[in-house]
Amino acid sequence: MTPRSKSQGHGPAPETLLPLKPVESLMMTMLAAGERHGYGIRQDILEHTGGKIELEAGTLYRHVRQLESTGLIEPSSQRRDADDDERRIYYRLTPFGRRVLAAEMLRLRELVRLAESRRIITPARV
């Protein structure tokens, strides 16, 4: 079964999908580090948010469905260890998804800079 992943090079401009939902950009950021299955995404997010964001299965897969249908992520056919649960599906970021995520992050960076210039937060020292 090949899922319908829309347009990987010639799709709509990434900006048309912005802004992303916070959870979705979080999920995509996790996938940017490599392929993961659903529960892996959850664990990753749990770890990176200090246990604050705890996704449940239904919610997670609704977002997976959404991201898949807009072609931002796709299932990967590889990476099945012998002892791995065979029903597990690993997901990865599509190139288009990576561009959209990047566009989203640029948008956020602009927002952060604005907040800094308005003295809402102090500029980060990098």
Partner: protein, 889 residues
Amino acid sequence: MLRLLLRLYPPEFRERYGESILSFHREHLADAKRNGESRRRAWRRATLDLLSTAALEWMSVVSGRLAPSTTYAPPRLSAEDRMSIIVQEVVQSVRSLRRSVGFSVAAVVTLALGISSTTAIFSVVNSVLLAPLPFPAADRIVVPESMNLSTGQTSFFSYADFMDWRDNGVFAQVATFQDVDMDLTGAGDPVRVRAAAVTPQFFAALGVSPSAGRTLGPSDYPFDAPRAVVISDRLWKTQFGARADIAGQTAEINGIKRPIVGVLPPGARWPSGTDVWVPLRLTSEQDPSLQRRDNFLFQGVARLKPGSTIESTRAAMAALAQRVSVAEPNIRKNSSMVPTPVLSAMLGTTTPRALWILLGAVGLLLLIGCVNVANLQLARSTARRRELAVRSALGASRFRLVRQSLVESGVVALTGGALGAVLAIWMVRVIIAIAPTNVPRIETARVDVNVLAFATLISIAVAFLFGVVPAAHSASEGRRQSLRDGDGRGGASRAATQTRRVLVTVELALSVVLLAGAGLALKSIQRLSRVDTGFDHHHVLTASVTLPGIRYRSAAQIITFFYGLRERLAATPGIEAAGIVSASPLGSGGFYLGRSMVADGREVIPANEISVLWQAATPGYFAALGMQVLRGRDFTIRDDTASPPVMIVSETFAARMFGRENPIGKRAMSSRDEKVEREIVGVVRDVKLNGAADSARALVWVPYAQNNAWAVGIITVRTRDNPAGALAAVKRELRSLDGAIALANVGTMDQAMARSMAGNRLIAVLLGTFAGLALVLAAIGLFGVLSYAMAQRNREIGIRLALGAQRADVLRLVARETVPMVASGVIIGLVAALGLTRFVRSMLYEVQPNDPATFVAVAVMLAVVALVASLVPARRASRVDPVIAIRND
């Protein structure tokens, strides 16, 4: 377990992610175990998550956001574009609805009926059950009561109990009070008002502050202080012209001028209906009668202590009550004290149950309406298949088709809802007019913003309910169906026809449930009106008077007044009999005194005591009320203080006290208070004091002249003609004796009787109406489906007839279509009714909730109606002209 829950998801989603979700959950549980987290928490979270996301997924599917039928991404539209599309769709819907006027009118009217009934009942529920009382933090106010632990019945308490609570700090504030009737005199005719004599913390417990002046304070309680009164907003407006300088004015009450110190804000009336509050003045709390634990004459109101709950308060009250039961086991066996939330204390148990039942019933009616409209819609969408096919072919997405269909449903539902809201305003008025007067706050029922919000919500819900099935259908049809059905008249898909059959079956089943409920209610009202109450309520007028203690100080004065008034009334032309009693049946005035009696010669111990209701009566009372003196005699004017003490008792009293022995000439005494041996001089037939549903009790009447001068009397006269006509005579005779006494509770016994059955009657009338509507709707639904099915098989029937089939064969064809629907509808309905009618048990009188006769009658009735509904389609089918039918295609 989780696998089962997965079935809640739309199939597409489940297929794609179901297994992943399962393995996700398995891993999560394993992790939870490893980390020592609670597995229950994991389960709970997973289940909640699943339920909510399933609902969300379905919404996405229905609103067609998936739109998988299109292969290109639709252009993203600006907000204005989207708005204009929606407007365009609404306009389109209205146009399309106007094209099929029949459908639209039927749908709108059906929904309006359902929505208006539901809204009307909801507005009653809203104002009677749900609206908060007009006191601050009203949920912290409770009514302390004594409770009989074996029956669960609650009643008043003794002053000593009140002192227990107050002195032990059970509540933040606690007050006790007594209801009294007072006559407001001074200007014009005297007016009877309800008053409450209250202890100091009364207003603090309720949390009311006066809208003018002050409430009662400690300075108002000493006996030498002026008799201060606080009045209600109503009284201030009706009797004192709403004057601004009311505080400091005086009111003449029971012939005494009293300073008005304050006015309470509108609505803040407790106990309900009270117009005057006065201090409860006591000689001393050490008074032996106040120390007694068996004079349950006091009512109360209290506010919970900060930090304590109803439960903790209940425990504290029970502990105190327990101490009393140990100290005085004879008096307090099997009883305790409980705090009842003020709203439940006011509503009782019957009213809420009746209202919820009615709301359930209208809910069913609304559901039937929805099913009916869904059915109509389905028939229409089948007929419109060609239009849909064309639109689909021209590029309308599945989403657009579904949305169009839903917008149409929305337009129909909101129109129905708007009409329904208007109808509801009128229905609420009717309900208020026919509702029993003892339903608290019913007069405040109205269609307000909350109710309108409710109506809007149910209209939207309704639009979904009846819109989704046809919408899903039209979508799949629109997609699947090509234009090849050249003439657009081809048969509906099997699925559509099947769906319609199921819908009609559901409708029939729902009507059976409603019919069964209505049948049971009607049967009990019929039983009730046939019951013999032991008195004749026709041609009787009653009115009560209270003689003000200030002018009627001695027993002799009171007796002279009552006996004199009775003599004058009895001698009035048109009045056949007249009497005065201290408590009149059917709540038409006065009160019964509960006493315990022991027969002469028996030891005074609880085992020998029987509880009686004690009343005082003048001669002529039994004749006036049409009660039958079975043995012995009525009182005479010679039964006075100088003669031996006598009493007249009811059959039940005689049977309980003396078994089968002749009670006449036997003696008994009130064992705890009066302690006077009284001779029984008469036995009257049992009466049902509270109406037909009541049971017979042990009753005692003693002559007014021998009863320590009670100042309350209910004038009872039997007339030859219309009893209301005797009112003038009663007023005239009263005025000739004393011009400053008000008549209260004026009414005929017929009215009192109707009032005692008003609750049952209201339920029967409303349930009957709803069931009738349901039946009509179900019949229309059946008729529609059959007509349509037969029209579709026109050609087949034509061919059969041409090939030699008889008319009877055609009728059999119709029967084969009808019988399964009706039979399964009736069976499902009866089973559901068996399950549901237990909820009306407490509303029934001498009818079991599974009364076989009612159920059979309902089944027969539905079958007959179904037969009638199928007659026309059947006749039409059997008259098909083969030639025309075949050629036509």
